[in-house]
Each structure stands twice: as structure tokens, then as C-alpha cells.
């Protein structure tokens, strides 16, 4: 084993949050090293430039780790969810869709509201400045002035083009007297920060242009320019802890040389996502887990979807994948029969003619044979997709755990993932499906199809982009893993900055909030590094 020179800050994982933390801390003059098990994903590696991009995103570029066969991945066995992530520089921003809504104030106060979820130890107002800072760093588009949300600064770029699908949906929502607003996106509508504006191609599974913020193009250049070091193909095997209770560094495998190295550090930041982080902590002799909450309370959001087809040709294959967001049902209204709320993430359509025929989010397929082209002509350019995404209640048995006997080829136990929606979640999804029907009818769709993501055996197999809650933030060391500064209650120089810290899921895609929280935590570390590099006690709640 090789022992390296110590660094100030060791970051494990080069995804969205690792890159933001590296930028803040390197700019402060700290010696920052990031270890990433995967590789850089160069623009030319993406399937976007190939005619077979549709096929590639079902196979070697599939977002599901269990449907592609990539050497940078690690095994995740799930009895339910489709496990969507990317292991490499930029993390899952290499394949995500970058819909960019924020949490609401009530998302931080669910214990007060109904008692079935915890309060966060921080409020919306604590995060708000970091939303703005993150948006400026990352480059986003949107429109201020939505009365369904707290006031915000004008986004760095205006909303993306208002597509004909958006216009059709806006009419439907107006008819229903429901809220709608142009979608916020982690995509720039104008040239920004040296990156080109979105060209509306519609292949919104990552973006090699960098118009959609792929953090390896938007953030990592900033971190590297500030002096942060990044080692790829460096798979962390475990985090070590000293007798004083502090993390001493991490043991990692250089996947290129096969040599195991130890990297000492004064402070360790884990940024390995909602599956990778609990897996690593559990595999490190149950590190930071006196609460027994590491890996528990996995949240994915409640998710059901629809596709509708309208008579008018709207060429919905063009433009950014999201069109509108509706926050009509975002707050709790118990008269609906459940607590918490949901949003509609309204889409355009798939940009692939092949997916129109072979099935998109509802798996609606063209018939084969003589009717094929008639069906295609009627459906292509006429489709609108919608996701309804809601706040699921935590369940400690929904969790990431370790296989007791099976390890991967590097000796790390295989991760197990279990998720099952609860009673409140099921009621919410029923309600969401009924409202999706309302939208289709208000839009005058000649056909619509719903998707509940249940397989033939009734198992809910949600596309789990959102893997959050597994090291949740809280005000009590007995029921949470990190405090309000993302600091481990148990290991004072260990910070967790990825989505696993989210105590509630909100009704939105989490990357904006995860990014804002990572910036906030990194700022705290920067401002308190001297104390944090020696203390043996975590800050109080």
C-alpha cells in the first residue's frame, strides 16, 4: 500500500456536489484532492452525435446501472427501483434532464405541518441565498415572478423557448384554472459563462455542448483553475477513522495500476450520491452511524406519468424536454385524502421518432404491419408527456444496505436497494393519475395513456433518478446522520454533501437543492476550516 502526502480536504466523488465543494474550497487556498472512481466523459463520448443515439441511450448509455455494462459502475441490486446514476466526473449530470425547480418553505417544516416527516434543522431562508449563488455558477434558465414560490432573483438566462407543447398545455391549465409556469432548467437559453445556448435538439439525457449544465463542463473547470486536484479511476474502498474519532483519510484503489493507496486528509467530504455514500459508510465499519440511520429512509418521490396526443401538429420532438411546471397541488390539502403535495413536470415529447414508435414513458407502441405508418403519422409530432412528482413519506425499511456476503471485484460489499411506496404515497399516486386524466381531457387529447410504473406483479419499479434521504440531516443525533452544516454527528471532520442528506424530498427534482446545500456546506467548511481540522466534536444542531 502506498501512503500519500496529506491534503487539507479529501472529496470522495466528482459529481455535482463534489465539484461545487472543490471549487469553493480550492478558491480559498486549501489543498483539495478529489477521488473519482470513474473517468471523464468527453463530449465526443456522448451518443448525441451519432445517428444511433436512440439505441445507445437504451443500451450502453442507459441511465440504469443495471441495464448498461460500464466498467466504472459498481453493482447495485434492487428488488424494486430502476437505479439511475452515472459514475464519472460530473456524476449523473452526464445523463440527467436538468429540470430545475426549488423546494418550498413548507418542505422544511413537515414535522410542524403534519408530524409524519421531520423538520429540517434549517429553513428555506437559510438555503435561498445559496440557490441564487448556485444558479449563477451553474448557469440556469427561468422566469422570476411565480406567485407559487417565494420571490427569487432573475435567473441568469431567460426561459427556454415556449414550445407549441407548452402553449397547448398552458391552455389546458387555464381551462382547469390551475397554476402553470415556464419550466426552470439547468440549461442556458443564451450563451453564458463560455458555454453555448441550448440548440433545442431535445436529446436531454446529458448534453455534450454543455448547454445543459454538465458539471464536468460547467463547474470542474472552475475547481481545477483554482488548484483543486482530481484523480480519476480512484475507487475509494473505505474511510479510516483514528482513535480520536476523526476521519484520517481514505483507502482507495487506483484502477489503472491496481495499487492500493492511502490518502490522509484533515477533512473528508463524501459526495457519492444517495446510494454510494451509505454504501461507503456502511462498508467503513459502519462509520458515522451511531443513529442507525445510514442507508435508511430512502426517498425516490412518488412518480406517475402520462402521455397524451392532440390533433394539432405541435412538433413536440423539438426543444428542451421540459415545457411547463404546475404547482397547483404542491401544498398539503388533507381533503384529498393524503398529506403532502406534488407538481406536474410537463414535458414536450421524445425527440426520437424511433421512441415514438417503440414506446416512450408510457410504453405506448405503434402496431406492426399495415397500420404502422398510419399510426405513426397520427402520433408523431402530436405527443405531450407529463410526470407527476410528489413528496413521499420516509420509511426506515426503504433503504440501502450491504449484501452480507457478496462483494464486488474490489472487495466492497454489493449494495442492496429496497423501496416500497407507503399508504400515503399510494393515495397520492391515485390522485395524481386522476388529475393527469383531467389534463388530457382539458387539452382535448384524442388519446392518452397513463403510467404507474408497476410491473406485471404489481411491484412499483420507479425510474429512481432521485435517491435521497439515506444520510439525512436533522437536529437530533439520535435520528439523523448529519447536522445543519452537513457535518457528521459522530465524526466531526466528515461531511456529506450529496443528496443523501435531504430530510424530505419536496415535490421537485432535487439537484438544485442538493447543489445549494453543497455550496452552503462548503462555505461553512471554508470559513471554519482551522477549527474543523482539529476539533473532536461536531457543531451543535
Amino acid at each position: 500500500m502506498t501512503k500519500n502526502e496529506p491534503c487539507d480536504v479529501l472529496i470522495i466523488g466528482a459529481g455535482a456536489t463534489g465539484s461545487l465543494a472543490a471549487t469553493v474550497l480550492a478558491r480559498a487556498g486549501l489543498d483539495v484532492l478529489c477521488l473519482e472512481q470513474g473517468d471523464w466523459v468527453e463530449p465526443g463520448d456522448h451518443p448525441h452525435y451519432s445517428a444511433d443515439w436512440t439505441w445507445q441511450r437504451r443500451t450502453n448509455w442507459n441511465s440504469d446501472v443495471n441495464k448498461r455494462h460500464h466498467p466504472d459502475d459498481y453493482p447495485v441490486v434492487s428488488d424494486s427501483s430502476q437505479v439511475l446514476m452515472w459514475n464519472g466526473v460530473g456524476g449523473s449530470t452526464n445523463v440527467y434532464g436538468a429540470i430545475w425547480p426549488r423546494y418550498r418553505p413548507s418542505d422544511f417544516r413537515k414535522q410542524d405541518e403534519h408530524g409524519l416527516q421531520p423538520n429540517w434543522p434549517i429553513a428555506y431562508e437559510d438555503v435561498a441565498p445559496f440557490y441564487e449563488a448556485a444558479d449563477r455558477m451553474i448557469g440556469v434558465s427561468g422566469l422570476a415572478g411565480d406567485t407559487a414560490m417565494p420571490p427569487r432573483e432573475k435567473p441568469p438566462t431567460r426561459p427556454l423557448p415556449f414550445t407549441r407543447a407548452a402553449g397547448r398545455l398552458a391552455q389546458a391549465f387555464d381551462k382547469l384554472d390551475w397554476h402553470w409556469w415556464p419550466a426552470e432548467a439547468g440549461v442556458i437559453s443564451e450563451n453564458y459563462d463560455g458555454r453555448p445556448a441550448c440548440n433545442g435538439c431535445g436529446i436531454c439525457n446529458g448534453c455534450p455542448r454543455g448547454s445543459m449544465s454538465k458539471y464536468s463542463l460547467s463547474i470542474w473547470p472552475k475547481a481545477l483553475a483554482a488548484g483543486a486536484r482530481l484523480r480519476t479511476h480512484a475507487r475509494v474502498l473505505r474511510i479510516e477513522k483514528g482513535l480520536d474519532g476523526r476521519a484520517t483519510g481514505a483507502l482507495f484503489l487506483d484502477r489503472n495500476t491496481g495499487i492500493t493507496e492511502f490518502q490522509p486528509a484533515r477533512l473528508v467530504i463524501v459526495a457519492a450520491n444517495g446510494v454510494g455514500t451509505p454504501r461507503l459508510l456502511l462498508a467503513s465499519d459502519n462509520l458515522a452511524n451511531q443513529s442507525d440511520q445510514v442507508g435508511r429512509n430512502l426517498l425516490h418521490h412518488t412518480l406517475v406519468s402520462s402521455e397524451m396526443w392532440v390533433e394539432e401538429s405541435i412538433d413536440s420532438h423539438m426543444g428542451y424536454v421540459a415545457s411547463l411546471i404546475s404547482r397547483e397541488f404542491a401544498e398539503t390539502d388533507t381533503s384529498r385524502g393524503f398529506v403532502n403535495g406534488f407538481n406536474f413536470n410537463c414535458l414536450t415529447s421524445t425527440s426520437s421518432a424511433g421512441e415514438v414508435a417503440a414506446g416512450w414513458i408510457t410504453e405506448t407502441k405503434a402496431p406492426w404491419g399495415r397500420d404502422h405508418h398510419r399510426w405513426f403519422e397520427r402520433h408523431f409530432g402530436h405527443c405531450i408527456g407529463i410526470h407527476a412528482i410528489g413528496d413521499d413519506l420516509p420509511n426506515p425499511e426503504n433503504r440501502v444496505s450491504l449484501d452480507p456476503s457478496i462483494t464486488d471485484k474490489d472487495g466492497i460489499p454489493v449494495a442492496w436497494l429496497h423501496y416500497q411506496p407507503g399508504e400515503n404515497d399510494k393515495r397520492m399516486m391515485n390522485y395524481m393519475l386522476d388529475r393527469l386524466v383531467d389534463i388530457a381531457e382539458a387539452a382535448g387529447a384524442f388519446e392518452y395513456k397513463l403510467q404507474d410504473y408497476r410491473d406485471k406483479d404489481g411491484v412499483y419499479r420507479t425510474p429512481a433518478w432521485h435517491m435521497i434521504g439515506t444520510c439525512r440531516m436533522g437536529g437530533d443525533p439520535e435520528t439523523s446522520v448529519v447536522n445543519k452544516w452537513n457535518q457528521s454527528w459522530d465524526v466531526p471532520n466528515l461531511f456529506i454533501v450529496d443528496g443523501s442528506v435531504l430530510a424530505t424530498g419536496g415535490v421537485v427534482n432535487p439537484t438544485p437543492t442538493i447543489s445549494a446545500l453543497a455550496l452552503r456546506a462548503a462555505t461553512y467548511i471554508r470559513d471554519n476550516f482551522r477549527e474543523l481540522s482539529g476539533t473532536t466534536r461536531s457543531a451543535a444542531a
Binding site: 452525435y49 445517428a51 444511433d52 443515439w53 436512440t54 439505441w55 443500451t59 418553505p105 413548507s106 422544511f108 417544516r109 410542524d112 405541518e113 403534519h114 428555506y124 422566469l143 406567485t147 407559487a148 417565494p150 431567460r158 423557448p161 415556449f162 398552458a170 387555464d174 384554472d177 397554476h179 402553470w180 415556464p182 437559453s189 441550448c198 440548440n199 433545442g200 435538439c201 436529446i203 455542448r209 412538433d315 420532438h317 426543444g319 397547483e328 401544498e331 398539503t332 388533507t334 393524503f338 425527440s351 421518432a353 424511433g354 421512441e355 417503440a358 414506446g359 407502441k365 406492426w368 404491419g369 404502422h372 403519422e377 399508504e423 399516486m429 391515485n430 404507474d452 410504473y453 404489481g458
Partner: protein, 190 residues
């Protein structure tokens, strides 16, 4: 390598004693099959005309493995194939039997054939001719869309509210019976 080894590598024997198509016949079998899936019509070329069978064969080998190519040939032959010399009605009946007896394999092959077909630039040209600005490689140039017009397109409906942090109040959950009632029928099975 023998034809049997290509077509039936994982089987002790072909699915029926007489079915031993040569490679050229196997290629024809696949071409005839995709022709039934997506026949030509009007300006639309058939799947076989644009070579879907070649892409399908490659993807079968790459993604499912050699044995699945044999499974496909076996399934078509078991369903009454090959197609040569059969009427359209008979060809359709063969594919219907294949779909009914091997739904998973059929579904994979149908989807792969559809995707291969619509990746083809000749097919893209037909979509264009129908008035859609479709590009089989849209990322290269993107699609021209008018920028968002803040003056004209900002919503004016005034709908929407949020509960501020200080205004969050306890809601009454006593009537929900979340602990005692169980929703048995949910999702699409209601």
C-alpha cells in the same frame, strides 16, 4: 463454422429436423420478417428496403448474444416460417404466432426494428416530406425555435400560492386513517 453453429449454437439440434437455412437464407428470413413488421406504404420505404435486418442482426449479436439470434430464427420457424413463397396473409399469421408464443423476444426484436428503421436517413426524409422538421441527428444543428418572449409569454393568470415558513400550521390528519386503512387498489389496477 457451420450454418448450424451460426444459427443454433446453443441447441443440440435445429428446432425442426428440416430447418437448416444457410447464412444467405437466414439473412433472407430476417429481411422477410422485418418486411412484415414495417411494410412499405406510399412514400414510406419498407424496413427491408432500408436494411433494418442488417442492423437488427448486429444488435442481436451485440446486445443479446449469438444464442438469441438462434432463438429468433427458431421462433420464426416454429411459428410457421420461413416466409418465402407465402401470401401476405400467411406471413402475418406467422408473425402473430411468434408474437403470441415468444412475447418477450418478439417485443425486443420489434422495438429494435422500429428504432433501426427510424434511425435511417431515408425514413427521416419521409418525415420531413410530411412537413416535420425532423433530423435523425438533431444535436448537430439543433432545431430553430423562437426565443422566449418575456413581454408576450410571461403568464398573467396570477394563480399559485405558497405557505411561508412562519405560516406553516398543523393540519388535521385524524380523518385520514393512514395507520389503519390500507389502499389495496392503486395505480392503473383500480
Amino acid at each position: 463454422m457451420t450454418v448450424d453453429a451460426i444459427l443454433f449454437p446453443s441447441a443440440d439440434a435445429p428446432p425442426n429436423g428440416n430447418a437448416k437455412p444457410a447464412p444467405a437464407e437466414a439473412a433472407a428470413l430476417l429481411a422477410d420478417f422485418v418486411e412484415v413488421l414495417i411494410p412499405g406504404e406510399g412514400d414510406w420505404p419498407s424496413a427491408a428496403t432500408v436494411g433494418v435486418q442488417a442492423m437488427l442482426a448486429t444488435r442481436l449479436f451485440e446486445d443479446l448474444g449469438r444464442g438469441h439470434f438462434a432463438r429468433l430464427a427458431t421462433a420464426i420457424i416454429a411459428a410457421g416460417g420461413p416466409f418465402a413463397g407465402r401470401s401476405e396473409e400467411e406471413r402475418v399469421a406467422i408473425v402473430q404466432r411468434f408474437e403470441a408464443t415468444e412475447p418477450a423476444l418478439f417485443g425486443w426484436v420489434r422495438d429494435a426494428a422500429y428504432i433501426a428503421y427510424y434511425e435511417n436517413p431515408f425514413v427521416g426524409a419521409v418525415i420531413n416530406a410530411q412537413g416535420h422538421p425532423y433530423d435523425v441527428r438533431p444535436h448537430l444543428k439543433g432545431y430553430p425555435l423562437a426565443p422566449f418572449d418575456v413581454e408576450r409569454q410571461t403568464p398573467r393568470h396570477g394563480r399559485g400560492h405558497f405557505i411561508a415558513t412562519a405560516d406553516v400550521r398543523r393540519v388535521d390528519t385524524s380523518t385520514l386513517d393512514l395507520e389503519t386503512e390500507r389502499t389495496q387498489a392503486w395505480g392503473l389496477k383500480r
